[in-house]
Amino acid sequence: MAHVITLVFAAGILLITSLLVYELWVNSHLSRAKFGWGFFWTQTWDPIFDHFGALPFIYGTVVTSIVSLLIAVPLGLAAAIFLAELAPRQLSDGVAFLIDLLAAVPSVIYGLLGIFVVVPLVRTVIGPALKMVLGGLPIFKGPNYGVGFLTAGIVLAIMVVPFIISVSREVLLTVPRDQREAALALGATRWESTWRVVVPWARTGIMGSIFLALARALGETMAVTMVIGNNPKISASLFAPGYTIAAVIANEFTEATGDVYLSALIELGLVLFLLTFILNGLARLLIVATERGGGHLT
Protein backbone atom coordinates (compact mmCIF):
# COMPACT_ATOMS: atom_id res chain seq x y z
CA MET A 1 0.00 0.00 0.00
CA ALA A 2 2.63 2.48 1.10
CA HIS A 3 4.68 1.36 -1.84
CA VAL A 4 1.94 2.26 -4.32
CA ILE A 5 1.11 5.65 -2.79
CA THR A 6 4.71 6.84 -2.72
CA LEU A 7 5.27 5.40 -6.19
CA VAL A 8 2.41 7.56 -7.48
CA PHE A 9 4.04 10.69 -6.10
CA ALA A 10 7.46 9.72 -7.44
CA ALA A 11 5.90 9.15 -10.84
CA GLY A 12 4.22 12.54 -10.35
CA ILE A 13 7.63 14.17 -10.77
CA LEU A 14 8.03 12.48 -14.13
CA LEU A 15 4.52 13.58 -15.02
CA ILE A 16 5.17 17.22 -14.06
CA THR A 17 8.37 17.33 -16.08
CA SER A 18 6.75 15.77 -19.16
CA LEU A 19 3.75 18.05 -18.81
CA LEU A 20 6.14 21.01 -18.67
CA VAL A 21 7.69 20.01 -22.01
CA TYR A 22 4.26 19.27 -23.49
CA GLU A 23 2.78 22.65 -22.51
CA LEU A 24 5.79 24.54 -23.87
CA TRP A 25 5.58 22.57 -27.12
CA VAL A 26 1.83 22.92 -27.64
CA ASN A 27 1.59 26.56 -26.64
CA SER A 28 4.42 27.57 -28.95
CA HIS A 29 2.65 25.90 -31.87
CA LEU A 30 1.54 29.10 -33.62
CA SER A 31 5.01 30.55 -33.62
CA ARG A 32 6.68 27.32 -34.72
CA ALA A 33 4.21 26.91 -37.57
CA LYS A 34 4.58 30.49 -38.77
CA PHE A 35 8.35 31.03 -38.53
CA GLY A 36 9.81 27.50 -38.63
CA TRP A 37 13.57 27.25 -38.15
CA GLY A 38 13.90 30.81 -39.47
CA PHE A 39 12.89 31.91 -35.94
CA PHE A 40 16.46 31.29 -34.83
CA TRP A 41 18.22 33.51 -37.34
CA THR A 42 15.72 36.32 -37.81
CA GLN A 43 16.67 39.63 -36.24
CA THR A 44 13.30 41.38 -36.34
CA TRP A 45 11.19 41.57 -33.22
CA ASP A 46 8.10 43.43 -34.31
CA PRO A 47 4.93 42.95 -32.24
CA ILE A 48 2.94 45.34 -34.43
CA PHE A 49 3.32 43.33 -37.61
CA ASP A 50 3.51 40.02 -35.74
CA HIS A 51 6.97 39.25 -37.03
CA PHE A 52 9.27 37.58 -34.53
CA GLY A 53 12.84 36.33 -34.58
CA ALA A 54 14.94 35.10 -31.68
CA LEU A 55 18.43 36.03 -32.85
CA PRO A 56 18.95 39.24 -30.78
CA PHE A 57 17.90 37.39 -27.61
CA ILE A 58 20.01 34.33 -28.31
CA TYR A 59 22.94 36.65 -29.02
CA GLY A 60 22.41 38.58 -25.79
CA THR A 61 22.07 35.41 -23.75
CA VAL A 62 25.25 33.93 -25.19
CA VAL A 63 27.29 37.14 -24.86
CA THR A 64 26.29 37.86 -21.26
CA SER A 65 26.96 34.23 -20.32
CA ILE A 66 30.41 34.30 -21.93
CA VAL A 67 31.32 37.56 -20.17
CA SER A 68 30.15 36.14 -16.86
CA LEU A 69 32.15 32.93 -17.27
CA LEU A 70 35.28 34.86 -18.29
CA ILE A 71 35.10 36.60 -14.92
CA ALA A 72 33.66 33.83 -12.77
CA VAL A 73 35.77 30.84 -13.87
CA PRO A 74 39.25 32.18 -12.97
CA LEU A 75 37.91 33.81 -9.82
CA GLY A 76 35.93 30.76 -8.72
CA LEU A 77 38.64 28.24 -9.56
CA ALA A 78 41.25 30.28 -7.67
CA ALA A 79 38.99 30.55 -4.63
CA ALA A 80 38.21 26.81 -4.77
CA ILE A 81 41.93 25.99 -4.94
CA PHE A 82 42.56 28.16 -1.90
CA LEU A 83 39.74 26.51 0.05
CA ALA A 84 40.63 22.94 -0.93
CA GLU A 85 44.43 23.06 -0.95
CA LEU A 86 45.67 25.82 1.32
CA ALA A 87 43.16 26.85 3.93
CA PRO A 88 42.96 24.86 7.16
CA ARG A 89 39.80 22.73 7.26
CA GLN A 90 37.91 24.94 9.72
CA LEU A 91 38.55 28.15 7.80
CA SER A 92 37.68 26.38 4.56
CA ASP A 93 34.36 25.13 5.96
CA GLY A 94 33.53 28.56 7.36
CA VAL A 95 34.22 30.31 4.07
CA ALA A 96 32.29 27.63 2.15
CA PHE A 97 29.35 28.28 4.48
CA LEU A 98 29.42 32.01 3.66
CA ILE A 99 29.67 31.22 -0.04
CA ASP A 100 26.59 28.99 0.20
CA LEU A 101 24.81 31.98 1.75
CA LEU A 102 25.91 34.12 -1.19
CA ALA A 103 24.24 31.55 -3.47
CA ALA A 104 21.03 31.94 -1.45
CA VAL A 105 20.69 35.70 -2.03
CA PRO A 106 17.55 36.20 -4.18
CA SER A 107 18.22 37.32 -7.73
CA VAL A 108 16.01 40.41 -7.40
CA ILE A 109 18.39 41.65 -4.68
CA TYR A 110 21.30 41.28 -7.11
CA GLY A 111 19.21 43.25 -9.58
CA LEU A 112 18.58 46.00 -7.04
CA LEU A 113 22.29 46.31 -6.29
CA GLY A 114 22.98 46.01 -10.01
CA ILE A 115 20.86 49.07 -10.81
CA PHE A 116 22.11 51.27 -8.00
CA VAL A 117 25.73 50.11 -7.58
CA VAL A 118 27.07 48.22 -10.61
CA VAL A 119 25.48 50.39 -13.32
CA PRO A 120 26.99 53.65 -11.97
CA LEU A 121 30.28 51.83 -11.41
CA VAL A 122 30.43 50.67 -15.03
CA ARG A 123 29.45 54.12 -16.24
CA THR A 124 32.02 56.05 -14.23
CA VAL A 125 34.88 53.68 -13.38
CA ILE A 126 35.01 50.29 -15.10
CA GLY A 127 33.86 51.51 -18.52
CA PRO A 128 36.29 54.44 -18.83
CA ALA A 129 39.15 52.28 -17.50
CA LEU A 130 38.50 49.57 -20.10
CA LYS A 131 38.23 52.17 -22.84
CA MET A 132 41.55 53.69 -21.80
CA VAL A 133 43.42 50.38 -21.82
CA LEU A 134 41.66 48.38 -24.53
CA GLY A 135 39.71 51.12 -26.31
CA GLY A 136 40.98 49.97 -29.72
CA LEU A 137 39.01 46.73 -29.63
CA PRO A 138 35.58 46.83 -31.30
CA ILE A 139 33.97 45.23 -28.23
CA PHE A 140 34.86 48.31 -26.16
CA LYS A 141 33.82 50.93 -28.71
CA GLY A 142 30.69 53.06 -28.70
CA PRO A 143 28.94 55.08 -26.03
CA ASN A 144 28.81 53.73 -22.48
CA TYR A 145 25.39 54.08 -20.83
CA GLY A 146 26.13 51.93 -17.83
CA VAL A 147 23.47 49.39 -18.77
CA GLY A 148 24.32 46.69 -21.30
CA PHE A 149 26.02 43.35 -21.96
CA LEU A 150 29.06 44.10 -19.82
CA THR A 151 27.07 45.14 -16.75
CA ALA A 152 24.78 42.12 -17.07
CA GLY A 153 27.85 39.89 -17.42
CA ILE A 154 29.42 41.33 -14.27
CA VAL A 155 26.25 40.85 -12.21
CA LEU A 156 25.84 37.31 -13.57
CA ALA A 157 29.46 36.51 -12.71
CA ILE A 158 28.83 37.41 -9.07
CA MET A 159 25.70 35.25 -9.09
CA VAL A 160 27.28 32.11 -10.56
CA VAL A 161 30.67 32.22 -8.85
CA PRO A 162 29.35 30.52 -5.66
CA PHE A 163 28.31 27.47 -7.71
CA ILE A 164 31.73 27.16 -9.31
CA ILE A 165 33.46 27.50 -5.95
CA SER A 166 31.36 25.07 -3.95
CA VAL A 167 31.28 22.31 -6.58
CA SER A 168 34.95 22.69 -7.57
CA ARG A 169 36.02 22.71 -3.94
CA GLU A 170 34.27 19.42 -3.29
CA VAL A 171 35.71 17.85 -6.41
CA LEU A 172 39.23 19.03 -5.48
CA LEU A 173 38.80 17.59 -1.99
CA THR A 174 38.17 14.13 -3.49
CA VAL A 175 41.60 14.08 -5.18
CA PRO A 176 43.67 11.44 -3.34
CA ARG A 177 46.35 12.70 -1.00
CA ASP A 178 49.12 10.58 -2.47
CA GLN A 179 48.80 12.46 -5.77
CA ARG A 180 49.89 15.66 -4.04
CA GLU A 181 52.56 13.92 -2.00
CA ALA A 182 54.05 12.28 -5.08
CA ALA A 183 54.32 15.63 -6.85
CA LEU A 184 55.87 17.31 -3.80
CA ALA A 185 58.31 14.43 -3.37
CA LEU A 186 59.51 14.99 -6.93
CA GLY A 187 60.45 18.52 -5.94
CA ALA A 188 57.41 20.40 -7.22
CA THR A 189 56.40 23.58 -5.41
CA ARG A 190 53.00 23.73 -3.79
CA TRP A 191 51.60 25.65 -6.76
CA GLU A 192 53.11 23.24 -9.30
CA SER A 193 51.64 20.23 -7.52
CA THR A 194 48.24 21.96 -7.43
CA TRP A 195 48.21 23.25 -10.99
CA ARG A 196 49.90 20.34 -12.77
CA VAL A 197 48.60 17.39 -10.75
CA VAL A 198 45.56 18.14 -8.58
CA VAL A 199 43.64 20.37 -11.00
CA PRO A 200 44.13 18.07 -14.03
CA TRP A 201 42.99 15.13 -11.89
CA ALA A 202 39.78 16.99 -11.07
CA ARG A 203 39.29 18.64 -14.45
CA THR A 204 36.15 16.74 -15.48
CA GLY A 205 34.40 17.74 -12.26
CA ILE A 206 35.57 21.33 -12.64
CA MET A 207 34.14 21.33 -16.17
CA GLY A 208 30.92 20.06 -14.62
CA SER A 209 30.83 22.98 -12.20
CA ILE A 210 31.36 25.39 -15.11
CA PHE A 211 28.49 23.82 -17.06
CA LEU A 212 26.30 24.13 -13.98
CA ALA A 213 27.23 27.80 -13.72
CA LEU A 214 26.59 28.31 -17.42
CA ALA A 215 23.13 26.78 -17.11
CA ARG A 216 22.42 29.19 -14.24
CA ALA A 217 23.69 32.16 -16.22
CA LEU A 218 21.58 31.33 -19.27
CA GLY A 219 18.37 31.03 -17.27
CA GLU A 220 18.91 33.90 -14.86
CA THR A 221 16.15 36.43 -15.30
CA MET A 222 15.56 39.24 -12.83
CA ALA A 223 19.04 40.60 -12.24
CA VAL A 224 19.78 40.62 -15.97
CA THR A 225 16.44 42.21 -16.88
CA MET A 226 17.19 45.06 -14.49
CA VAL A 227 20.62 45.96 -15.91
CA ILE A 228 20.85 44.92 -19.56
CA GLY A 229 18.93 47.86 -21.04
CA ASN A 230 16.23 45.79 -22.78
CA ASN A 231 16.94 46.62 -26.40
CA PRO A 232 16.49 43.83 -28.99
CA LYS A 233 19.57 44.72 -30.99
CA ILE A 234 22.78 42.94 -31.90
CA SER A 235 25.83 45.12 -31.25
CA ALA A 236 29.49 44.26 -31.21
CA SER A 237 30.12 46.64 -28.31
CA LEU A 238 29.80 45.25 -24.81
CA PHE A 239 28.71 48.69 -23.61
CA ALA A 240 25.61 48.60 -25.82
CA PRO A 241 22.24 47.79 -24.29
CA GLY A 242 20.89 44.38 -25.32
CA TYR A 243 18.33 41.78 -24.37
CA THR A 244 18.33 38.14 -23.28
CA ILE A 245 15.80 35.32 -23.75
CA ALA A 246 14.81 35.26 -20.08
CA ALA A 247 14.60 39.06 -19.89
CA VAL A 248 12.27 39.43 -22.87
CA ILE A 249 9.94 36.77 -21.46
CA ALA A 250 9.86 38.56 -18.10
CA ASN A 251 9.22 41.97 -19.66
CA GLU A 252 6.76 41.25 -22.43
CA PHE A 253 4.78 38.20 -21.34
CA THR A 254 2.05 40.13 -19.58
CA GLU A 255 1.89 42.68 -22.39
CA ALA A 256 1.74 40.16 -25.23
CA THR A 257 -1.52 41.02 -26.91
CA GLY A 258 -1.64 38.77 -29.97
CA ASP A 259 -1.68 34.98 -29.94
CA VAL A 260 1.37 34.77 -32.19
CA TYR A 261 3.23 37.19 -29.91
CA LEU A 262 2.55 35.05 -26.83
CA SER A 263 3.38 31.90 -28.75
CA ALA A 264 6.74 33.37 -29.85
CA LEU A 265 7.58 34.18 -26.22
CA ILE A 266 6.68 30.64 -25.18
CA GLU A 267 8.89 29.28 -27.96
CA LEU A 268 11.73 31.34 -26.46
CA GLY A 269 10.93 29.62 -23.16
CA LEU A 270 11.17 26.26 -24.91
CA VAL A 271 14.60 27.18 -26.30
CA LEU A 272 15.78 28.23 -22.86
CA PHE A 273 14.45 25.02 -21.35
CA LEU A 274 16.23 22.81 -23.88
CA LEU A 275 19.53 24.69 -23.46
CA THR A 276 19.57 24.38 -19.66
CA PHE A 277 18.25 20.80 -19.86
CA ILE A 278 21.23 19.71 -21.98
CA LEU A 279 23.79 21.65 -19.94
CA ASN A 280 22.51 20.39 -16.59
CA GLY A 281 22.44 16.82 -17.83
CA LEU A 282 26.06 17.07 -18.99
CA ALA A 283 27.14 18.79 -15.78
CA ARG A 284 25.69 16.04 -13.55
CA LEU A 285 27.36 13.31 -15.60
CA LEU A 286 30.75 15.04 -15.43
CA ILE A 287 30.57 15.64 -11.67
CA VAL A 288 29.47 12.09 -10.92
CA ALA A 289 32.19 10.70 -13.21
CA THR A 290 34.96 12.62 -11.40
CA GLU A 291 33.81 11.84 -7.90
CA ARG A 292 33.67 8.14 -8.74
CA GLY A 293 36.58 7.55 -11.02
CA GLY A 294 39.21 10.23 -10.59
CA GLY A 295 38.45 12.26 -13.65
CA HIS A 296 39.62 9.92 -16.38
CA LEU A 297 36.49 10.18 -18.45
CA THR A 298 38.39 11.04 -21.61
Binding site: L19, E23, P74, L86, P106, L113, E192, T276
Partner: protein
Protein backbone atom coordinates in the same frame (compact mmCIF):
# COMPACT_ATOMS: atom_id res chain seq x y z
CA UNK B 1 70.76 29.50 -14.78
CA UNK B 2 69.14 26.82 -12.68
CA UNK B 3 69.44 29.13 -9.71
CA UNK B 4 67.41 31.77 -11.56
CA UNK B 5 64.82 29.19 -12.51
CA UNK B 6 64.47 28.07 -8.91
CA UNK B 7 63.89 31.63 -7.77
CA UNK B 8 61.33 32.12 -10.51
CA UNK B 9 59.47 28.96 -9.45
CA UNK B 10 59.40 30.12 -5.84
CA UNK B 11 58.18 33.58 -6.80
CA UNK B 12 55.47 32.10 -9.02
CA UNK B 13 54.46 29.75 -6.22
CA UNK B 14 54.08 32.56 -3.69
CA UNK B 15 52.34 34.83 -6.17
CA UNK B 16 49.74 32.32 -7.35
CA UNK B 17 48.98 31.02 -3.87
CA UNK B 18 48.46 34.59 -2.67
CA UNK B 19 46.16 35.27 -5.59
CA UNK B 20 43.97 32.28 -4.74
CA UNK B 21 43.60 33.61 -1.21
CA UNK B 22 42.73 37.06 -2.52
CA UNK B 23 40.09 35.50 -4.79
CA UNK B 24 38.49 33.55 -1.93
CA UNK B 25 38.29 36.53 0.38
CA UNK B 26 37.21 38.80 -2.45
CA UNK B 27 34.18 36.60 -3.13
CA UNK B 28 33.29 36.34 0.55
CA UNK B 29 33.57 40.09 0.98
CA UNK B 30 30.85 40.49 -1.69
CA UNK B 31 28.39 38.91 0.75
CA UNK B 32 29.28 41.47 3.40
CA UNK B 33 29.15 44.32 0.88
CA UNK B 34 25.64 43.25 -0.13
CA UNK B 35 24.54 42.99 3.49
CA UNK B 36 26.14 46.27 4.47
CA UNK B 37 24.68 48.14 1.53
CA UNK B 38 21.18 46.83 2.20
CA UNK B 39 21.37 47.57 5.90
CA UNK B 40 22.66 51.09 5.22
CA UNK B 41 20.07 51.93 2.54
CA UNK B 42 17.19 49.79 3.73
CA UNK B 43 17.60 50.53 7.43
CA UNK B 44 17.14 54.26 6.84
CA UNK B 45 13.88 53.69 4.97
CA UNK B 46 12.42 51.04 7.21
CA UNK B 47 9.71 52.33 9.53
CA UNK B 48 6.46 51.30 11.12
CA UNK B 49 4.37 52.68 8.25
CA UNK B 50 6.25 50.51 5.81
CA UNK B 51 5.21 47.37 7.66
CA UNK B 52 1.60 48.30 8.33
CA UNK B 53 0.35 50.47 5.46
CA UNK B 54 -0.79 49.83 1.90
CA UNK B 55 1.12 51.42 -1.01
CA UNK B 56 0.14 55.05 -1.62
CA UNK B 57 -1.18 56.05 -5.07
CA UNK B 58 1.53 56.76 -7.68
CA UNK B 59 3.14 60.13 -7.07
CA UNK B 60 2.38 60.37 -3.35
CA UNK B 61 5.25 59.50 -1.07
CA UNK B 62 4.96 57.37 2.05
CA UNK B 63 2.86 54.28 2.48
CA UNK B 64 4.17 50.77 2.88
CA UNK B 65 4.07 47.21 1.70
CA UNK B 66 1.91 45.45 4.28
CA UNK B 67 -0.05 43.74 1.50
CA UNK B 68 3.14 42.44 -0.13
CA UNK B 69 4.48 41.03 3.14
CA UNK B 70 1.22 39.18 3.80
CA UNK B 71 1.05 38.23 0.11
CA UNK B 72 4.48 36.63 0.19
CA UNK B 73 3.48 34.62 3.26
CA UNK B 74 0.27 33.46 1.58
CA UNK B 75 2.15 32.40 -1.54
CA UNK B 76 4.66 30.48 0.57
CA UNK B 77 1.81 28.78 2.38
CA UNK B 78 0.33 27.67 -0.96
CA UNK B 79 3.72 26.49 -2.17
CA UNK B 80 4.15 24.47 1.02
CA UNK B 81 0.69 22.88 0.77
CA UNK B 82 1.08 22.01 -2.92
CA UNK B 83 4.74 21.10 -3.13
CA UNK B 84 5.94 19.67 0.19
CA UNK B 85 3.70 16.55 0.31
CA UNK B 86 4.71 15.55 -3.22
CA UNK B 87 8.38 16.06 -2.42
CA UNK B 88 8.12 14.18 0.88
CA UNK B 89 6.35 11.12 -0.48
CA UNK B 90 8.49 10.93 -3.59
CA UNK B 91 11.55 11.15 -1.33
CA UNK B 92 10.18 8.29 0.79
CA UNK B 93 9.74 6.22 -2.35
CA UNK B 94 13.32 6.84 -3.49
CA UNK B 95 14.82 5.97 -0.10
CA UNK B 96 12.61 3.10 1.02
CA UNK B 97 11.32 1.37 -2.12
CA UNK B 98 12.25 1.62 -5.73
CA UNK B 99 14.16 -0.56 -8.12
CA UNK B 100 17.39 0.44 -9.78
CA UNK B 101 16.43 1.87 -13.14
CA UNK B 102 13.21 3.64 -12.16
CA UNK B 103 14.85 5.21 -9.11
CA UNK B 104 17.69 6.48 -11.28
CA UNK B 105 15.22 7.96 -13.76
CA UNK B 106 13.26 9.73 -11.02
CA UNK B 107 16.42 11.05 -9.38
CA UNK B 108 17.76 12.34 -12.68
CA UNK B 109 14.43 13.97 -13.58
CA UNK B 110 14.33 15.62 -10.16
CA UNK B 111 17.77 17.13 -10.73
CA UNK B 112 16.74 18.37 -14.15
CA UNK B 113 13.52 19.87 -12.79
CA UNK B 114 15.66 21.61 -10.18
CA UNK B 115 17.75 23.15 -12.96
CA UNK B 116 14.85 24.48 -15.04
CA UNK B 117 15.07 28.30 -15.10
CA UNK B 118 12.44 29.84 -12.84
CA UNK B 119 11.06 31.94 -15.69
CA UNK B 120 10.23 28.73 -17.59
CA UNK B 121 8.46 27.37 -14.51
CA UNK B 122 6.49 30.63 -14.65
CA UNK B 123 5.38 29.92 -18.24
CA UNK B 124 4.40 26.40 -17.19
CA UNK B 125 2.31 27.61 -14.24
CA UNK B 126 0.80 30.26 -16.52
CA UNK B 127 -0.38 27.64 -19.00
CA UNK B 128 -1.69 25.40 -16.20
CA UNK B 129 -3.45 27.89 -13.95
CA UNK B 130 -3.82 31.22 -15.77
CA UNK B 131 -4.68 30.35 -19.39
CA UNK B 132 -7.72 28.15 -18.57
CA UNK B 133 -9.37 30.80 -16.36
CA UNK B 134 -7.98 33.86 -18.19
CA UNK B 135 -6.86 35.81 -15.14
CA UNK B 136 -3.89 36.02 -12.81
CA UNK B 137 -4.33 34.57 -9.34
CA UNK B 138 -2.55 33.91 -6.06
CA UNK B 139 -3.27 30.25 -6.72
CA UNK B 140 -1.27 30.29 -9.97
CA UNK B 141 1.66 31.86 -8.13
CA UNK B 142 1.41 29.12 -5.51
CA UNK B 143 1.49 26.48 -8.25
CA UNK B 144 4.68 27.99 -9.71
CA UNK B 145 6.44 28.14 -6.33
CA UNK B 146 5.07 24.72 -5.33
CA UNK B 147 6.67 23.09 -8.38
CA UNK B 148 9.99 24.70 -7.48
CA UNK B 149 9.80 23.38 -3.91
CA UNK B 150 9.43 19.73 -5.01
CA UNK B 151 12.93 18.83 -6.27
CA UNK B 152 14.78 20.24 -3.25
CA UNK B 153 12.44 18.49 -0.82
CA UNK B 154 12.78 15.16 -2.64
CA UNK B 155 16.55 15.14 -2.47
CA UNK B 156 16.87 16.23 1.15
CA UNK B 157 14.14 13.81 2.30
CA UNK B 158 15.84 10.94 0.50
CA UNK B 159 19.22 11.81 1.93
CA UNK B 160 17.98 11.93 5.54
CA UNK B 161 15.96 8.73 5.25
CA UNK B 162 19.02 6.93 3.93
CA UNK B 163 20.93 8.08 6.99
CA UNK B 164 18.50 6.23 9.29
CA UNK B 165 20.20 2.93 10.30
CA UNK B 166 18.73 -0.22 8.79
CA UNK B 167 18.65 -1.86 12.23
CA UNK B 168 15.80 0.49 13.24
CA UNK B 169 13.70 -0.74 10.33
CA UNK B 170 14.53 -4.37 11.10
CA UNK B 171 13.65 -3.87 14.75
CA UNK B 172 10.19 -2.54 13.89
CA UNK B 173 9.60 -5.29 11.36
CA UNK B 174 10.69 -7.94 13.87
CA UNK B 175 8.01 -6.64 16.22
CA UNK B 176 5.48 -7.39 13.50
CA UNK B 177 4.91 -3.89 12.12
CA UNK B 178 4.00 -3.63 8.44
CA UNK B 179 6.29 -1.73 6.13
CA UNK B 180 3.88 1.21 6.09
CA UNK B 181 3.82 1.33 9.88
CA UNK B 182 7.56 1.01 10.09
CA UNK B 183 8.07 4.01 7.85
CA UNK B 184 5.35 6.15 9.41
CA UNK B 185 6.09 5.49 13.08
CA UNK B 186 9.81 4.67 13.17
CA UNK B 187 11.80 5.80 10.14
CA UNK B 188 10.15 9.16 9.42
CA UNK B 189 10.20 10.33 13.07
CA UNK B 190 13.89 9.38 13.30
CA UNK B 191 14.68 11.58 10.30
CA UNK B 192 12.08 14.28 10.99
CA UNK B 193 14.46 16.98 12.19
CA UNK B 194 16.52 16.87 9.02
CA UNK B 195 13.52 16.55 6.73
CA UNK B 196 11.78 19.58 8.23
CA UNK B 197 14.97 21.61 7.98
CA UNK B 198 15.29 20.62 4.34
CA UNK B 199 11.71 21.74 3.72
CA UNK B 200 12.33 25.10 5.35
CA UNK B 201 15.41 25.55 3.19
CA UNK B 202 13.39 24.87 0.05
CA UNK B 203 10.78 27.44 1.12
CA UNK B 204 13.53 29.96 1.82
CA UNK B 205 14.78 29.45 -1.69
CA UNK B 206 11.45 30.12 -3.39
CA UNK B 207 10.65 33.02 -1.06
CA UNK B 208 12.94 35.24 -3.10
CA UNK B 209 11.73 34.10 -6.51
CA UNK B 210 10.42 36.89 -8.70
CA UNK B 211 10.39 35.65 -12.28
CA UNK B 212 7.75 32.89 -11.90
CA UNK B 213 5.39 35.31 -10.12
CA UNK B 214 5.40 38.07 -12.76
CA UNK B 215 2.72 36.45 -14.88
CA UNK B 216 1.07 34.10 -12.42
CA UNK B 217 0.43 35.92 -9.14
CA UNK B 218 1.05 39.24 -10.94
CA UNK B 219 0.87 42.06 -8.38
CA UNK B 220 -1.69 44.11 -6.56
CA UNK B 221 -1.58 47.53 -4.93
CA UNK B 222 -4.39 46.62 -2.51
CA UNK B 223 -5.23 43.72 -0.24
CA UNK B 224 -5.87 40.61 -2.31
CA UNK B 225 -9.50 39.50 -2.43
CA UNK B 226 -9.04 35.76 -2.03
CA UNK B 227 -6.96 33.07 -3.72
CA UNK B 228 -8.40 33.61 -7.19
CA UNK B 229 -7.25 37.24 -7.39
CA UNK B 230 -3.83 38.74 -8.22
CA UNK B 231 -1.68 39.20 -5.15
CA UNK B 232 1.32 41.34 -4.26
CA UNK B 233 4.61 39.80 -3.12
CA UNK B 234 7.83 41.29 -1.78
CA UNK B 235 10.14 40.21 -4.64
CA UNK B 236 7.81 41.53 -7.36
CA UNK B 237 7.36 44.80 -5.42
CA UNK B 238 11.14 45.20 -5.16
CA UNK B 239 11.42 44.71 -8.91
CA UNK B 240 8.64 47.17 -9.82
CA UNK B 241 9.80 49.78 -7.33
CA UNK B 242 13.48 49.50 -8.31
CA UNK B 243 12.87 50.11 -12.02
CA UNK B 244 10.38 52.95 -11.41
CA UNK B 245 11.59 56.54 -11.74
CA UNK B 246 10.57 57.74 -8.23
CA UNK B 247 13.09 58.28 -5.43
CA UNK B 248 10.56 57.40 -2.77
CA UNK B 249 9.89 54.06 -4.48
CA UNK B 250 13.63 53.33 -4.60
CA UNK B 251 13.77 54.00 -0.88
CA UNK B 252 10.97 51.50 -0.31
CA UNK B 253 12.60 48.96 -2.64
CA UNK B 254 15.69 49.05 -0.38
CA UNK B 255 13.55 48.56 2.71
CA UNK B 256 11.72 45.62 1.13
CA UNK B 257 15.05 44.18 -0.03
CA UNK B 258 16.40 44.36 3.50
CA UNK B 259 13.38 42.50 4.89
CA UNK B 260 13.50 39.84 2.18
CA UNK B 261 17.26 39.30 2.40
CA UNK B 262 17.13 39.29 6.19
CA UNK B 263 14.47 36.57 6.28
CA UNK B 264 16.10 34.44 3.58
CA UNK B 265 19.57 34.61 5.13
CA UNK B 266 18.25 33.98 8.63
CA UNK B 267 16.39 30.88 7.47
CA UNK B 268 19.48 29.70 5.61
CA UNK B 269 21.88 30.22 8.49
CA UNK B 270 19.54 28.47 10.91
CA UNK B 271 18.85 25.52 8.63
CA UNK B 272 22.44 25.04 7.54
CA UNK B 273 23.68 25.09 11.12
CA UNK B 274 21.17 22.38 12.03
CA UNK B 275 22.11 20.38 8.94
CA UNK B 276 25.85 20.58 9.52
CA UNK B 277 25.32 19.44 13.11
CA UNK B 278 23.50 16.44 11.70
CA UNK B 279 26.46 15.76 9.49
CA UNK B 280 24.80 16.55 6.21
CA UNK B 281 26.89 18.85 4.09
CA UNK B 282 24.51 20.23 1.51
CA UNK B 283 21.19 20.07 -0.21
CA UNK B 284 21.66 22.74 -2.85
Amino acid sequence: MSQARLIWRRVLNALMLTLTGVAAFGVVSILFLILGYLIWNGGRSLNWDFLTHLPKPVGESGGGMANAIVGSLKLLFLAAVLGLPVGLLAGVYLAEFGGKVFTFVIRYTTDLLNGVPSIVIGIFAYSLAVLPVKHFSAFAGGVALGIMVIPITVRSTEEFLRAVPGTLREGAMALGASQWRTIATVVLPAASGGIITGMLLSLARVAGETAPLLFTAFSNRYWSQGWAQPIASLPVMIYTYAIAPYDDWHRQAWAAGLILLGLVLLANVGCRLVLSRKGMTRSV
